[in-house]
Amino acid sequence: MSETKLPENNVLRLDHITMQFGGVVAVNDLSVDVNRGEIVALIGPNGAGKTTAFNCITGIYEPTNGRVLYNGNVILANCPHGKMKWQYIGDFAPMDLKPVIRTPDEITKLGIARTFQNIRLFHNLTVFDNVLIAKHMRAKQNVFSATLRINHAEEARMRKETTELLEMQGLLKYKDEIASSLPYGLQRRLEIARALATSPSLLLLDEPAAGMNPQETQDLTDFIRKIRDEYKLTIFMIEHHMDLVMQISDRIYVLDFGREIAVGTPEEVQNNDRVIDAYLGVSEEDA
């Protein structure tokens, strides 16, 4: 499926992604490259379209226009069709692509895991079950072998892996607690652990530090670095905490009103006028 020349180590490429809802363009001609082992951040003011971009990558939305490539293969592609043909107002011209649509579960199977901005745990299940469910996807059992317990070797393996993962994330002592009873920081951590349990190679984190105090944010910074190295991950994240972003990002993409307004290393982005304007607003005289 790969027809584009991509650098060897490219993991994720968004190719002119536009997401339009009716007359609202939430993401406008966004192109992103994420390379293996990198931590790339996507920042921008509220409502800039960051989470929408994530939802396009993970198959929750079908992008209106553009392609998503993962390890050099097109995993999602779409161009305006039907009513959208004449409604389309994105910056980049319609690409006339053969649509490739995948559901979120197929994207996860490819090795792209994600967390959510507003934590989406299985609230009434135990911490252990939360992670164990993620193991289901890669199991070979079927419904009969699972019901009749013919798969007990596999089940035992899944449980062992889950225990190991929880141990590594320091969550093992909470394993029988109900997920919603955990403190907020641990819920975040559990969500990341659950995403890791799907054995991803690319991890999308949607505001992992939301609602955390500076100390927790610092812990999270170390934690993200640690999991990147331990699990050989590539991380693409949305974040508002600038200290976190500036500390660990290799590259930063800045979105405003759906458009990419800047890209570069943390230093470059920090000194970019358009970024400062987007965050602080432009006064009447300056404009």
């Binding site: 979120p104 895991a113 299985f122 135990t126 079950d129 469910i133 996807m137 199991a139 699972a146 009749l148």
Partner: protein
């Protein structure tokens, strides 16, 4: 919550083992006693059988509603499919002309006779097959809309069964009779327990966890690699299979069925059991099935005229039973807003705790702080 580490996988200590064995022994003894005296206790036996059939259907509805989070009201329809399959294929060939006395029987099925277990299995499979078909459009709907669609389906099935065009197969509105019953009570309760045990095994398996994940959060479940449609359809089909088997059991227990047996009221009965027992609790559904079926019978004396000291109490007349029953249901639901069991499962330590909480509850001693476990009134 059900503790998944109760699985046979990790050989942990099981405090329930001995009381369970005793309970099983008592149960087998009871069945044996009833089997030996089946002509003395016909009334008790038939109530017990009805409760057991309802338990199977309630657990299968709970699998769908309580564990997968799909609110379906198609139970009566799937039961009808199972019941009619069992009836059509098990009525002895010799008696068929007298059953299909109006229009005769279609030559296609006139000479096909199946043993009851095969007919039950077939009934379940046909129900499951139809569920698979209607699941494709219907499972795209959510919550109440799914309930309405399945309710409509159930009514369609009932209308089709009573349609004169199908007289040669379903005997239309005349119903089917002379359905052979079970060889003995052990077979009947064996099938009931097998069905419930299979569903419990499923719920505690990896697939059961997947169902619960979908119930908890569809978006998160999908991002964990679970194909929503696939798993919803799976749950719907399995639930319908056991509902179909339950319908077949009902046909064998009632010995004669007609389309009126499978009105919406039947679905509501099952729904009542599931809600009263606790949505998401298998043991709750079983307890609910027995409580509701027996409750209706125990309250029968309200239907009899009552005279105390020469004064006839005017309230006690036919129909008063259901008023009392409904009031009792309301009281139970007011005090146990999440059903008798909530989402917990029955356990003996929990049962003992529940028994011990009685003096504290009714003794008027406010000293005992109600711990969260007993506050919900749950037994586990």
């Amino acid at each position: 919550m059900d503790k998944n580490n109760n699985l046979p996988l990790n050989g942990k200590k099981r405090p329930n083992l001995i009381p369970n064995l005793i309970a099983i022994a008592v149960f087998i003894g009871l069945i044996a006693f009833l089997e030996m005296n089946k002509f003395t206790y016909t009334y008790e036996i038939s109530t017990l059988e009805r409760a057991a059939v309802y338990a199977v259907v309630a657990v299968s509805m709970n699998l769908l509603t309580g564990f997968t989070g799909l609110f379906s009201l198609g139970q009566a329809g799937f039961m009808a499919i199972g019941a009619y399959t069992v009836a059509i294929f098990t009525i002895p060939v010799a008696q068929r002309p007298s059953v299909y006395y109006v229009d005769g029987i279609s030559p296609l099925i006139a000479n096909i006779h199946l043993p009851f277990w095969a007919a039950l299995l077939l009934g379940g499979l046909i129900a499951a097959g139809i569920a698979a078909l209607i699941g494709i459009p219907v499972l795209r709907l959510k919550s109440d809309y799914l309930a309405i669609a399945t309710l409509g389906f159930s009514e369609i099935i009932r209308a089709l069964i009573s349609a004169p065009q199908f007289n040669k197969i379903t005997n239309g509105s005349y119903g089917l009779k002379n359905i052979p019953t079970f060889p003995n009570l052990f077979v009947f309760f064996g099938i009931v327990i097998l069905c419930i045990a299979l569903m419990v095994l499923l719920i505690n398996s990896s697939y059961g966890r997947a169902f619960k994940a979908i119930r908890e959060d569809e978006v998160a479940a999908e991002s964990m690699g679970l194909n929503l449609f696939h798993y919803k359809e799976l749950s719907f089909v399995i639930s319908s299979f056991f509902t179909g088997v339950g319908g077949g059991l009902l046909a064998m227990f009632m010995r004669s069925i007609d389309s009126k047996t499978f009105q919406v009221a039947l679905t509501y009965d099952i729904l009542l059991i599931v809600v009263l027992g606790g949505i998401g609790s298998v043991t709750g559904s079983v307890i609910g099935a027995f409580l509701i079926t027996f409750g209706r019978e125990w309250l029968r004396f309200f239907d009899e005229p009552l005279t105390i000291a020469g004064v006839s109490i005017p309230l006690f007349r036919t129909g008063f039973r259901m008023v009392v029953f409904s009031v009792l249901l309301m009281v139970v639901v007011l005090f146990h807003s999440r059903g008798l069991m909530g989402t917990n499962e029955f356990s003996w330590p929990g049962f003992l705790r529940w028994l011990k909480s009685f003096p504290a509850r009714f003794g008027g001693r406010k000293k005992v702080p109600s711990d969260p476990a007993s506050k919900g009134g749950t037994k586990a």
